[in-house]
């Protein structure tokens, strides 16, 4: 019977290209472009676009998205996952620290109060949350071809990547650069996506 199985598998063999990081990267670029176009058409580019911070904010979220996408890819490839999945996360941490250092915890209480602007902040968080659904769906669909050894972990990384990509696109519109604001209203929807990714990933990335 074992030999029957082997024979069936051999009969079923078709040439298959090994998966590479370039494929999910293409999906991410496509999703990023779609989100960018949506933001520019329906929300508009921020009025002061062009100065350093206005470029740095989306760029950092874009790099975070790339790093977490790479982490999810390596976590979904048996035998090469453990070490390589950690490096993008280290870069992720460094970038977060860089953003905080670049903007600094200056301004005291008024800065924190500015960071807690509830109505506009809620709009930012909800928009990022909704925008992130497109890349999340694309990534989950593509990653079904992979073989994650821990589907919940891979799902979490994918959620982080989706949220960061959405935050990056949204950052072209939002002119709030305050560290407290960004670490609240941008980071929460990204973490929300990570939780959703963990939940869905654990179910649909199983093999």
């Amino acid at each position: 019977m074992q030999h029957d199985v082997i024979q069936q598998l051999v009969d079923d063999l078709q040439p298959s290209e090994p998966l590479t990081l370039a494929e999910p990267a293409k999906a991410a670029i496509f999703a990023g472009l779609m989100l960018g176009i949506f933001v520019l058409l329906f929300l508009g580019l921020r009025a002061d676009f062009g100065h350093m911070t206005s470029i740095m904010k989306p760029a950092i979220f874009m790099i975070i998205a790339g790093c977490t996408l790479a982490a999810s890819f390596y976590s979904a490839m048996p035998s090469q996952s453990a070490k390589r999945a950690k490096l993008p996360l280290v870069i992720f941490g460094l970038l977060c620290a860089m953003y905080v250092l670049a903007h600094g915890f200056t301004g005291g209480l008024p800065a924190i109060q500015q960071g807690m602007q509830l109505p506009y902040g809620t709009f930012c968080a909800v928009t990022i949350g909704l925008l992130g659904l497109l890349p999340m769906a694309l990534f989950l669909f593509w990653f079904q071809r992979t073989a994650p050894l821990n589907s919940a972990v891979t799902g979490t990384y994918l959620g982080l990547a989706s949220g960061a990509l959405a935050a990056s696109a949204y950052a072209f519109h939002c002119n709030m650069d305050n560290v407290f604001y960004v670490s609240t209203w941008y980071v929460f929807p990204i973490l929300g996506h990570a939780l959703i990714g963990r939940f869905i990933g654990a179910r649909i990335l199983r093999w």
């Binding site: 051999v10 063999l13 040439p15 048996p78 996952s81 073989a147």
Partner: protein, 165 residues
């Protein structure tokens, strides 16, 4: 595996045949003997389904070992959710004078499982042949006969449960 990814069936067949004994040894140390064959088969199918995740720049053995380990953990997870039913060689039953209903029900149940499994169960459980005898008369290996009996009985129990519920 590199050759298999290009569609070389001969190389692929040689590879699967070569890794089968390794998988058997791997699972024999970790699970009950009766489950080894199932796990080996599942792992071979996973290797087939996920062969595009193998990167030729890396050694093959760790990739295969990672898949085997994943299958083993998945098996343990499933086992912790299901209650194991031990299958006895002899099934105690009431002494009934009219056995026609009994055999009719049995035939109905046997129709719910694949023909090969039904044939083996008939030989072993109804005609009373030993596993070795059934293996000789059907041409399957002893291990295959054991697996088929195990799977067939399991399916029949599930089918019976569905009917009664």
């Amino acid at each position: 595996m590199r050759a298999a990814q290009t569609g070389d069936k001969q190389a692929y067949s040689a590879l699967l045949l070569a890794i089968r004994p390794w998988l058997k040894r791997y699972y024999a140390r970790r699970v009950h003997m009766a489950q080894v064959e199932d796990l080996v088969q599942e792992t071979l199918m996973s290797i087939h389904a996920k062969r595009q995740t193998y990167n030729a720049a890396y050694p093959f053995a760790p990739w295969m070992a990672a898949i085997a380990r994943h299958r083993w953990i998945d098996h343990l997870r499933k086992q912790s959710r299901n209650i194991e039913i031990e299958l006895f060689d002899t099934i105690a039953s009431e002494d009934v004078s009219d056995t026609s209903d009994y055999f009719r029900d049995l035939e109905t149940m046997l129709q719910t499982i694949p023909a090969q499994q039904a044939q083996i169960i008939r030989l072993v459980k109804i005609e009373g042949q030993t596993i070795e005898e059934a293996s000789q008369s059907t041409g399957h290996s002893v291990a295959s006969v054991k697996v088929m009996v195990h799977r067939g009985m399991k399916r029949m129990i599930e089918a019976a449960k569905q009917r009664t519920s």
